[in-house]
Symmetry: C2
């Protein structure tokens, strides 16, 4: 190991950081499952031809090629290797749907019947790393984790409603008090652009400018639109709608009256109104979502409802999603055509927002109790028994790996280790305690100690850490 270090743009996640990542990922997965999503994992290694032509010219340069060390020597100059690293989770999803979507398999509950290999709609979540050969920079990584949940094969608006309810539940579960899911509809924006007198060819340019309204001022965005050749009167009409504010239902009534001649916009407004009804039925708190007609979402593949979550932390959007009914067809090279919608969480931004808001302090490190170890006769056996009893009750317990009889220094050393791991309680049993038939239970935060009778120590500690009856793990 000539030099020690990471590849630029990659990170080691040491335990204190990893525990927080696992906490967030476990929370996401728990809520995904609660809404009927099931896990999918695809390999990091994909065929080059699966990824080629999917991410635009600039994106394609960032795809990593892979070649085994043994085969490297025979690679000709400029030759593409047939192996590549996963670049996102959407192209692999399209590949999976195209490969298995029509396959049947034996029904596990009834061997005489066949069932689909992938249920339809296919509700899957996927939490995996992706790789991009980008120049590393602040907050820009070559390897990062995407957390996606998608519904493939349903046109029902209920799918989007449930995704938004799920998003609101995730943010509440992670401890965010202040967050808003902003909701809009691509067809409303398309209708608006048409109503403003602009041709469909201007759509991408207009949407990409509107998308910047969370970073630029209205004047700056107007000037950008102007520089794209949009006339002032058209810009005025666009802003007449996207600047509408107020309670979501009222806002839609205003938009309906302004865009009364646009069939596309009216369909979108109908859907947004139905959606508000669904969110009310699901009792999603009304202060956590709102229709925002200025929301555009950067990606051009959305075809229907779109949404994006912002929090009070200055890290930008921490997740979003929408309906993309044509993308599976495009990404599968026309092999399967299925309507779809989904949501994606940005793990790094989510963690940055939680850090900013102090929501990560609540995430405990795993060990709950550390029993100090001394090898004095009688002491050693008792501490091992105590550790066994605590673990049997589901308490995450460590025993000091200390191979000597009691000394104050041996105690300090083990308490120092417990401190490094932020263990909340330690148990001390030296020869003095053994003579008195007690153990000392030390609260590592307050440094207060209480003495417990030797024979009741395990039961006392279990009750203290698991106050709810029957809760063992």
């Amino acid at each position: 190991m000539a030099e020690l270090g990471n590849v630029g743009g990659t990170r080691d996640f040491l335990p204190d950081e990893m525990i927080r990542r696992e906490y967030v990922i476990d929370t996401l997965k728990r809520i995904f499952r609660k809404y009927g999503f099931e896990p999918l994992e695809t390999p990091a290694l994909e065929r080059w031809e699966t990824l080629a032509g999917k991410y635009g010219e600039e994106g394609e340069k960032l795809i990593y090629h892979v070649v085994s060390s043994g085969a490297l020597d025979s690679l000709k100059p400029g030759e593409r290797t047939d192996l590549a690293l996963r670049y996102d989770l959407t192209v692999p999803l399209a590949r999976v749907v195209a490969m298995y979507g029509d396959q049947m398999q034996v029904d596990p509950q009834n061997p005489k019947k066949q069932v689909r290999k992938l249920p339809r709609p296919f509700k899957r979540y996927q939490v995996q790393a992706v790789w991009r050969g980008d120049r590393p920079g602040a907050g820009r990584f070559r390897e990062f984790t995407q957390c996606d949940a998608d519904v493939i094969g349903s046109t029902s608006l209920l799918a989007e409603a449930e995704l938004i309810a799920l998003v609101a539940e995730v943010f509440a579960a992670l401890g965010f008090a202040d967050f808003t899911v902003k909701i809009n509809h691509r067809r409303l924006l398309q209708g608006l652009i048409e109503w403003a007198g602009l041709p469909p060819s201007k759509e991408a340019a207009v949407l990409s400018s509107i998308d910047k309204l969370d970073k630029l001022s209205v004047a700056e965005v107007r000037s950008e639109l102007h520089s794209k050749g949009i006339e002032a009167s058209a810009i005025d009409r666009l802003f007449q709608v996207i600047e509408l504010t107020g309670e979501s239902t009222h806002l839609l009534i205003q938009a309906r009256s302004i865009l009364a001649d646009s069939p596309a916009a009216l369909v979108a407004i109908d859907e947004l109104e139905s959606l508000l009804g669904y969110l009310e039925a699901y009792q999603v708190p009304a202060d956590h979502y709102k229709v925002d007609l200025a929301l555009a979402r950067g990606l051009d593949y959305y075809t229907g409802l779109i949404f994006e979550t912002v929090t009070s932390a200055p890290v930008g959007s921490v997740g979003g999603g929408g309906r993309y009914d044509k993308l599976i067809y495009d990404l599968s090279g026309g092999k399967t055509d299925q309507p779809a919608c989904g949501t994606s969480f940005g793990l790094d931004r989510l963690l940055a927002a939680m850090e900013h808001l102090g929501l990560l302090a609540q995430v405990p490190r795993p060990t709950e109790v550390m029993v100090l170890r001394f090898t004095d006769p009688g002491v050693d056996t008792f501490t091992q028994t105590l550790v066994r009893q605590l673990r049997a009750a589901g308490i995450r317990t460590e025993l000091g790996y200390y191979d000597a009889p009691f000394t104050p220094d041996g105690m300090r050393q083990q308490l120092g280790y417990a401190n490094e791991k932020a263990v909340p309680y330690t148990v001390i049993l030296g020869p003095d305690e053994l003579a008195q038939q007690v153990v000392a239970l030390r609260d590592m935060t307050t440094r207060k100690q209480e003495k417990l009778p030797l024979g009741e120590a395990a039961m006392y500690i279990v009750r203290k850490l698991r106050p709810r009856l029957g809760e063992t793990e």
Copy 2:
């Protein structure tokens, strides 16, 4: 997407398989944490120089190199790229220990103090994919998951004892009734080889033959040893010890008397005896471990206690480990020297063994209840409310994405979907049920239906699925 398919030797894990993988991984992580292990993740991308020279000549050929698509064209023939894919979890662990092992950071509980960035001993678990550019074959993959738990920085035999207790708890938790952790000690084997009159230079050759005793007959192994130039009298002496059988304590008494002149063997026997005492104190069931003096373990880096788990499924060893006090020094290029021991679980073999023994049938798919959806007036709102109530109680619930009023065909279609996802219960509410103010709760296995009063349906279903008071999720 010209052709659809996976890279050879890689796999898509569709939900029914992925749910089982997540179940096993979650069980492993839960028990790792219970024993005080904390998570570590390292990047898939490692510097080539970190991996070079670590895996032997044959291994090195299998390391994957990585190069971004944009940089591929400027790669000279035969040139190594400086990026490579992780090949195992041990070299990254050595790198992490060497990089951060001596670093200090501010104590989060006391800003005036400094604590180690990595606690010592460093007890970490790591569950991540590794890549090898091997020719794909039956059960041989280019991308697979390793599950490791290691203790770095402790010489205490308690570390090995806890690893074995942990292993026994994992197999019991996964439902294995019949499994054995076989235990031996490298220094006992070294003492034996010396006692048999063989020079240390023969050690690797002898151990690699002994290691084959689980696949070859005694006669075959003897003949292989003979072909390696070991004399018959030495072979006899080796087998005099490695064929000892019986209860672990008695077996060690016999070995102690035979190897009485070997200091190395006597140290090892002392450690094995202490270990048996620890396992007894931890109440690891005695039928789940035994000293087996024929256990050698293939890898040559072990320096002390070794162990390996076999089950009644014909898939070979499903995990093993031991002490490797010199490896961190070697792998870190001499940058840090720390004693270590660890254990590794083979996820694919573990799943194969569970499949063979029928232990995977118990792993449920996530969704517990599916509420069928019909858009008849009154019905739709009620079903959405019911879904919300069930989810609020922690029940993993789906609502059918069906956008039409009740018909028998719409019911069949949604029941078919529930069947594809192996959902145990469905709730049916059509206009007939609404008129009677009831819902039908259908047991999808028995196909029996019971009628529940509309207003009490949620509470009844929650009680049925969460019979333990206060258990909500």
